[in-house]
Assembly symmetry: D2
Homo-oligomer: 298 residues x 4
């Protein structure tokens, strides 16, 4: 319908007050933009904050000679000062570069790569990295470089082995100019040092309906508790284990006949769907973090 070469996305955030929509839409109009999608949200409370996602089309947008983007970005910069606005603009022709980290389970990786090949998730995937060799063949089937970086010693989240693993990983991420990481059932806990060094978004899938059952063995805990519904949660990674801002969740009903193995089997389907949606939304600039919550313009 629209020519992707001419499309851009604008995300803004600023203190809520009169005239923001008029100012932003006026700016876009003056830059010959046609707004194709638009969504906004205001947080309640004493200091209301305004959030907006706009997709727009400008003829000749990516033509360097025309200088359209330079003019647009200059205007946005000026407006951002006038109304105390944070913003980000992205161009649909420039895909985000995603690294995937995995361990041994294949369900999330298989789904992500299938969606990627189908064109349903539009990113570049320069690398898949793992502490195990198990998923090498799957990566090769999709012709994506697979880096096996074993972790030799230490417990889950410490030790010299992990440090070496993270150092190698960071160097790969930097070399490949990675924009964000997806943890597709990667079973190591990334260190605070790693998070600080990488300093970009990391999306994780946790195999429970958070905040219930964080940490290890959530299906076992859910079975013990006797819940009637299990779930999965995609969230941004921060310093606290399984406590970062939630992006998406989904659930499936279980009954007393479902033992832990059956819960895991059913759960895999939910996990891969939830993670896929989160990755797709992030790739399309649909997610804004606000404290420990997310605004998701679906």
């Amino acid at each position: 319908m629209y020519d992707k070469n001419n499309l851009a996305r604008l995300i803004i955030s600023c203190p809520d007050k009169k005239g923001i929509v008029a100012a932003v839409s006026g700016l876009l109009y003056k830059n010959n933009a046609n707004i194709t999608e638009s969504a906004q949200h205001s947080t309640p409370g004493e200091k209301p904050q305004f959030f907006m996602r706009i997709v727009f089309e400008i003829q000749g947008l990516m033509d360097e000679k025309k200088g359209i983007r330079i003019k647009l970005e200059k205007d946005l910069k000026k407006l951002s000062k006038d109304i105390n606005m944070s913003y980000g603009v992205s161009y649909l022709r420039k895909l985000k570069r995603m690294a995937i980290l995995v361990s041994r389970m294949d369900h999330c990786l298989n789904e992500l790569l299938w969606l990627w090949k189908s064109g349903d998730i539009e990113v570049e995937i320069p690398l898949i990295c793992s502490n195990h060799e198990d998923l090498k063949e799957l990566a090769e089937f999709y012709k994506i470089p697979y880096f096996y970086i074993p972790v030799k010693d230490g417990p889950l989240n410490a030790g010299e082995g992990l440090k070496r693993h993270e150092r190698k990983l960071l160097s790969l991420l930097e070399k490949e100019n990675i924009d964000f990481i997806t943890l597709a059932r990667y079973m190591r806990i990334l260190s605070p040092g790693f998070l600080k060094s990488f300093n970009k978004k990391i999306i994780n899938i946790h195999h429970s309906f958070l905040p219930s059952f964080p940490g290890a063995k959530p299906y076992e805990k859910a079975y013990e508790k006797g819940v009637k519904i299990i779930g999965a949660t995609a969230h941004f990674v921060n310093d606290e284990l399984d406590a970062g801002p939630i992006i998406e969740q989904d659930i499936i009903r279980i009954d007393h006949d479902d033992d832990i193995d059956e819960m895991k089997r059913k759960g895999k389907i939910i996990e891969k769907n939830v993670l896929s949606r989160a990755v797709k939304w992030f790739s399309e600039d649909r997610i804004i973090e606000k404290g420990n919550r997310t605004i998701v313009f679906t």
Copy 2:
């Protein structure tokens, strides 16, 4: 959070082109409006159409002396000519007036009245009308006038009895200045003449997942067909039976143990929830008809 006295809703529809958002938001800004909610949609195709719903706040909006509404409506009228725009503006302090038509089943009426009393559906309900006396007590419990207008002869959708019924009904609707009708499992088919005379929106609940099983006995048909999921559909009424624009649908899973009675029992819960959502959305100006489809800004 916001003072309802100062809130209004604007619905617009026009051929899609550059600058519409800028024009509308600029108009509102000049009228001192703060946009609190906004959603838009463009239909695909060769002649794209643009739709928008905006909720905004203007201090002193309902104060006759200030003339704010007169100014606003004048500006909107002017803009509507400039950009070939259809529009409607409504003020939250002025509730829509809904009539409910019922027959003998109480589940939809019970839910609507409970939600109305709870303040979850904000309308005025000047009258409930029925071709049976069964639900009189329920109406009285909620202190709403109940008009029993029996239909003496003729089949479901014809006969002198139905004509008399419809004439009395029309006169009641006119007298009470009714804005829209909700058919809460009303088991008569309103005649084309009635629809033409009333000439406002009528919301119906059909007890199947349309377009499957229109007409009578949908649960019986669903049982025969052996479907694994049943549903309910709220739609606007038009001249064709159970074929008007769909507003909302929902479903529930059944299995081979569910006989027709059990399907009806489970279905009632879905019917009342689907109808309630449709009525709530309509009362909040969230629904726009476009041909045989609806745009619903939830």
Copy 3:
């Protein structure tokens, strides 16, 4: 289809071993029973336990002169000793007697009473009791005695006022020969002494997806956490707050536009449906407790 006068339900539980089904079905066959429904479950693990629910029909079952029940119960007693079986038998003509406790919110009570009047929940309701007067009219509409027993002093779960309240309540429950209690958003915590004295099942609805957000203000906590799905949980009451065996749960999706009031509004629909299902299942002997889990034969 079947004559309720001739129907009975048998619930059994025993260590799992060969021949149980043969023994029980043989016993029923010798008592001229036709099995109309049957479901079984074996818990996994080293000491597997077997559970079964059977509905059966015997001609003349309730005819005292024929002595059918005496013979049946004698045979069951004998078998229970032979295979170390716990069991319970109930007759469909004898409805369970349920007391409902409420405070001020009407959504759960309204739904339960509507389902009861519709014949969808088959119990006797000799009394509704509350620490507030708010829901008296609703009880009267359904012609059920409403007892207002105020709690004058003390915090939520202590104080002389609560003790008096519980003493009066216990005396009512005993007088009316109540079989089980349903807490339909009753906002007092029943004391361990009360639970011990009553010593029968109590079903509660908690307005969160347990084990997330137990205790007070779950919607507020869910909002803070930024979850994308909220839920409700029906469970048996035990000494630990909101931690008894879970009977049923359900959820609804929310998004960033839903503030706490909107979450409460959406949550009410889930709460009343979850509680209704739990009460219906209990009234039909579909629930077996096993430690902190429930087996629910739906």
Copy 4:
């Protein structure tokens, strides 16, 4: 938990009357069987029919020397005559042999093969057959023989080309001793002659919520109709297009922003999940056909 070598499944169907459960469970007990799962269903109506699925364990079941199966099958044959019972017995060690037919879309095949490799669907897959070459690589990744049998001429469901295609296919199916076929978005209509010759079950996935939108282009039809929920349906194939007994259905919510491409994208996820469940259930003898309905013991 249980040793698969010792497990068998029994499916029975007979006119409903007293003593069936006792007779069957007695027979199993005498054959030293321990019942591990059991489910039953009686159809309502004047000539009630009884259906049962039992999973049982017998020590040494597959040991030819012990003759356990010969004895068991002899006893079943005798009982089947006594109570006019149809039955089928299968042994878990002997997997069903499934052929998969595909055209060009990969989503269903990819999911089925992933579940098969994961051990979640336990069948043998001796062959995948297609009228296109597109999915050859995917089959090779899972090391399953892929037969490309092009259809050269004629419309979708006729012509000499299709006849040749079906003849080759039948010869392959016979050679590989195939027990059932799964159509994983195979875009040819199998001829009545083929169905008659193959004479075993064929499972198809249709990309709509049947009976809505049978035949070609269901997403296009759903868009035109303006439905708010789309679905997918797995069913057994019979002579009538998309009208065979329904095995499983599922749905996903859409809104006015979802164009046909987006509906297809969302629909793929539903299609592959619904088909996978149907195939899994069939492989585990959970599905019984009864006229145009199915009984599914999940």
